[in-house]
Symmetry: C2
Subunit: 299 residues, 2 copies
């Protein structure tokens, strides 16, 4: 493990996830051709599969041994939910974005009606896929409880509402913390925890994933805000400075760039040391390196 | 049972469902106030709770004995999914409807962004609510499999896509059968079956519910098409003749009014006789009377 290659580790798992997504939502899936095409368009638009990777790491750290049968349906469902949220966030009535990951957004290609329905269908198909997992039913129910709590009205969707309604209000610590923890944080945390729950991890590991997942989620969002200020459009594949221009509540607007950078670094260090304390450096390496990646990423 | 009063039977269960919906999505639910308000606005806009009622009847016919703990979370989740589909179907990019059940549609009151998110959040909250059921986990998983199959890309949402893309095409038997079975039929069938699955009904009862549910779903949709042709706006609480004007694929357009009425009656009679053969008239009465109501309704 001394020469652990995190890029290779991620790339291998990214390919496993992509193959599984292709299996659970194939080109010839039953349903209207145009719908399947629209769903797959954004699902295979080059995502990094961060949330599925977190669920895989959580599962492997917890000793899970049937990745394909138990965990991949969950990992794929998580990515479908994430993709649904991207399609709806980009809609004209929401952020009205024309590009995502360097490609025209779903509604720009398929029109608004199909884009709304493609999002809905990905959301629905996520649960259809998750319940195909072969894990024991009581674990499956605990995974579903974790995920549905993270994405609902007190999670991702509530955060998106606060994001939309918070535009052009004065920057507020309270609002930005609410948006970040709900819109991004809880679902990132749930992805890690879902892996642990799927493997039947004991309570102290689930608690650890809860705390570490929180820190990863917030770090991710702070870095996102920083990149919106200073990132390069070509690398990000999406518009830059858009949050600032549209008067969004961001961490940088509330705390300033310097404090935001410090905060991200502190959170990442604290998360890494919790992982190392519990699992040791060698075993914890995939999660440690992922946290490092998140805080150091410039795209 | 000789003086079985179906209206009273339904009214009692409708009130049980409404109380449960109020419990699972209270005014002070955690989440942005405006989102909760928008979700509740359409959820409590006077629906007949047909799908929850079907799930309750399926559960009671199968000997289920913990309605509140086992079935109501499922019944409420089913109604939330139905409500989500109504909100999104009414959107400007879809059917662009201004009124639903005599009240302004969700996006007319809350704007398009919140309406999309209120639909999404009801969809999400449906699963959050369903997994709170106290039924044995393996039954819960079977209920979730049934429901997610019924509403996804080969179900309700696929049917809605076919509905939207089928507008202004020549009336086609194939398209109208596809739309009706997917958009409405499968979910109505799944509601009845979910009740049976929740109670642990044996395979022959589930198969019966499958066949009967199919017939109920198709009857419901044919009558809906007939009412769109001949119904009165005041009674329906929504626009009449709109499907015809917008060039929608309807049963009446394909088969003519007379044949549509005959078909609805035939299907209902066949469904009723299957229920009576299996359960007997007395025990089967709630389902028998519901089928009669569906075929005879004029609002």
């Amino acid at each position: 493990m001394t020469d652990f290659d995190f890029k290779k580790y991620w790339q291998e798992r990214l390919e496993i996830v992509n193959r599984a997504l292709n299996y659970y939502l194939p080109e010839d899936a039953n349903g209207p051709q145009i719908l399947v095409e629209a769903m797959r368009y954004t699902l295979f638009a080059g995502g990094k599969r961060l949330r599925p990777l977190l669920s895989i790491i959580g599962y492997e750290l917890s000793g899970g041994r049937d990745l394909e049968g138990e965990l991949l349906p969950v990992a794929c469902g998580i990515e479908m939910i994430h993709t649904f949220s991207l399609i709806h966030d980009d809609l004209p009535a929401m952020d009205n974005d024309d590009f995502r990951r360097g490609k025209p957004t779903n509604h720009r290609v398929f029109g608004e009606a199909i884009a709304i329905l493609a999002g809905d269908a990905l959301f629905s198909h996520a649960f259809y896929t998750i319940v195909q997992s072969r894990m024991p039913p009581e674990r499956l129910v605990s995974v579903l409880k974790e995920i549905t709590d993270a994405i609902g009205l007190d999670g991702m969707l509530g955060g998106q509402v606060a994001d939309v309604t918070g535009e052009n209000k004065p920057p507020s610590e309270e609002i930005v913390e609410y948006i970040h923890s709900r819109k991004t944080g809880k679902f990132i945390r749930a992805s890690l925890k879902a892996g642990g729950l799927a493997a039947g991890a004991p309570g102290d590991v689930i608690d650890l994933f809860h705390r570490v997942g929180d820190k990863i989620g917030l770090t991710f969002q702070i870095v996102d805000d920083i990149l919106d200020e200073i990132g390069e459009k070509d690398k990000l594949g999406k518009s830059v400075g858009k949050d600032r221009e549209s008067g969004k509540q961001t961490y940088v607007r509330v705390y300033g760039l310097q404090r935001a950078k410090e905060k991200a670094r502190e959170l990442a260090e604290s998360a890494i040391s919790e992982v190392e304390d519990h699992f040791g450096f060698q075993k914890g390496r995939p999660l440690i390196d992922l946290i490092k990646f998140i805080v150091e990423r410039n795209y």
